[in-house]
């Protein structure tokens, strides 16, 4: 249990530290690396919740897929020029409002504790011996099949749309 706590704080520090460094670094590639660190921290937190499937998918998709494409684009950009430009914009009122809202939300959850969450009933029968992946697949393809299919349709639309936009003549 102590190990879990230590690991939790380690991963949480990774997430927060990575996040802060992502927005404060001037060099875009360094920012991307710290974003990767932050995402790896999130993956670690998933693992601590024994959600192994999410852990692996988080790394495969975010670190291996999305961040690789990010870096791919960053490398094609003139970094010296980008580093000279202003790093922060002046919309601090909007930012303050967002931060305040999130802060209020966190404060509410901290004050109310576990009572703030409506936990699903499934958690009680979680230890049926089935792995995390199997249970996730079971829920995704039976209980939540319609939302799942709608989400995949949405992604298909995005894929087709990007092809249409990128290619003038098909």
């Amino acid at each position: 249990m102590l190990m879990d706590t230590i690991l939790f704080y380690l991963f949480a520090a990774l997430v927060l530290g990575g996040g802060i460094l992502t927005i404060t670094r001037r060099n875009a590639v360094h920012s991307a690396i710290f974003l990767i660190l932050s995402l790896l921290g999130v993956a670690g937190l998933y693992l601590l919740q024994s959600a192994e499937f999410l852990f692996a998918v988080q790394i495969v998709l975010y670190v291996g897929g999305i961040m690789v494409l990010f870096l791919f684009v960053i490398m094609l950009v003139n970094l010296d020029q980008a580093a000279k430009e202003k790093q922060f914009n002046r919309q601090w009122t909007v930012a303050l409002a967002c931060a305040g809202l999130v802060g209020a939300e966190i404060f509410y959850f901290l004050a109310k504790g576990a009572g703030a969450f409506q936990l699903a009933k499934g958690t009680a029968e979680a230890n049926t011996g089935m792995g995390n992946t199997e249970r996730l697949a079971d829920a995704l393809f039976s209980q939540y099949l319609l939302p799942f299919e709608i989400a995949s349709l949405l992604l298909l639309v995005a894929v087709v749309g990007s092809v249409v936009m990128a290619k003038k003549r098909i």
Partner: protein
């Protein structure tokens, strides 16, 4: 002592130490085999100077790499230049942790094993991209961009091929996949009425691309990009990239063997009397190759080299004879079959390199997106349909 031996972490830590200690040497010898085999394809001799028939070449190479000057380009991003090969090596070696070498010899039996390997190979791409970018030089950057595009494309095909295999296995755990093949008494490559050979071929092609090997070695095409992403690397850092590359080759070969060729199972695992093979094949492989190299001794002129070769041949013969002892055989036959099959797959990949000319970049993308991915998707559909049929 007894408590140490029975501690649940004893085998994992031991196996980890052995892998980390032995793999660099093994990688060196895979390189030697590769050079020798390629030399044979091209009717040359290959390395011959260090040791009998170049047998000690890997050790000389390793020493040379360790002692070489470590050069960092003046305008390089030093921290990332330092970090990139570390990422590559770390991820490549981490992937070993879920590979089952036998029923008892493995580091961890994770129930998302295959996904861990995909995740590690996905993160490993970052090492290549960052290394190419941090060098602050043209060829490495071009190599890095090529490899990013190539690896992201072929990862999709690889995932589809793996999915077909996983549908047959019904589990993501690599140990579980081997157990499933044992229970059904069939290697998955012959499963589904032999149709599984299609995803296996897709897997092998995608895996060759994924490990940046010829004919898909565009990221390090010598004729165009000097050495691609690791042009500016030298000495030990370069050795780390090299180690990572061969570790990746070993890992993709292990996944192929585990998912399609029965992992540490012997051929026909359900036929009892064929347990004979457990004794016969190791004896034939080890003692046979030992005897064959004894014949070669006469051709050597240097007496010292003759002695070294005799020693190596005797070691092989002894290794073969040790496998006849039933107790040793029971413990060591799993790793034997596993490593035997892995070496065959690695030999196949070397064979590819010796046979096919390098693809052009547009051909590479064509093969990836217009052939491999559709075939992979189709294979999933067909496999799903065949899987619904009553078992034979």
């Amino acid at each position: 002592m007894q408590t140490v031996l029975q501690h649940p972490l004893f085998t994992p830590i031991l196996v980890t130490l052995v892998i980390v200690a032995v793999f660099p040497l093994l990688a060196g010898y895979i390189v030697l085999v590769e050079r020798k085999v390629l030399a044979d394809f091209q009717v040359r001799l290959g390395p011959m100077r260090v040791g009998p028939h170049g047998l000690l070449q890997p050790i000389a190479d390793a020493l040379k790499l360790l002692l070489k000057e470590d050069i960092i380009p003046a305008d390089a991003d030093r921290s990332i230049f330092w970090l990139a090969p570390v990422i590559s090596t770390f991820t490549a070696l981490t992937a070993f942790s879920v590979i089952p070498f036998s029923k008892t010899i493995y580091v961890a039996d994770v129930n998302v094993g295959i996904l861990v390997i995909s995740a590690m190979s996905a993160v490993g791409i970052l090492g290549i991209i960052l290394g190419g970018w941090a060098s602050n030089s043209h060829y490495p950057l071009l190599g890095a961009l090529r490899s990013a595009a190539q690896l992201v494309s072929y990862e999709v095909a690889l995932a589809f091929a793996l999915l077909s295999g996983l549908m047959v296995a019904g589990t993501l755990s690599l140990q579980g996949i081997v157990q499933a093949q044992m229970q059904r008494g069939i290697w998955f490559v012959f499963s589904n009425y032999g149709f599984m050979i299609v995803p296996f071929v897709v897997y092998m092609i995608a895996a060759t691309a994924e490990t940046n090997r010829a004919p898909f070695d565009l990221p390090e095409a010598e004729s165009e990009l000097v050495a691609g992403f690791h042009t500016e690397y030298s000495g030990f850092r370069w050795a780390l990239y090299f180690l990572a590359e061969y570790a990746n080759i070993f890992v993709v070969a292990s996944v192929a063997v585990t998912l399609f060729w029965g992992g540490w199972l012997r051929p026909f695992p359900s036929v009892k009397w064929l347990a004979l093979l457990d004794y016969l094949v190791p004896l034939l492989v080890f003692a046979g190759s030992g005897a064959a190299s004894l014949v070669l001794v006469k051709r050597l002129k240097d007496p010292l080299q003759q002695k070294v070769l005799v020693g190596a041949a005797l070691l092989l013969v002894v290794a073969g004879l040790v496998y006849v002892i039933p107790a040793v055989n029971a413990a060591a036959i799993g790793p034997f079959w596993f490593l035997f099959k892995v070496s065959l797959v690695i030999y196949l990949m070397i064979w590819f390199r010796g046979t096919f000319p390098r693809f052009r970049y547009d051909q590479l993308m064509d093969i990836g997106w217009k052939w491999m991915i559709p075939i992979g998707m189709g294979a999933i559909v067909v496999n799903a349909a065949l899987g619904m049929l009553p078992p034979r």
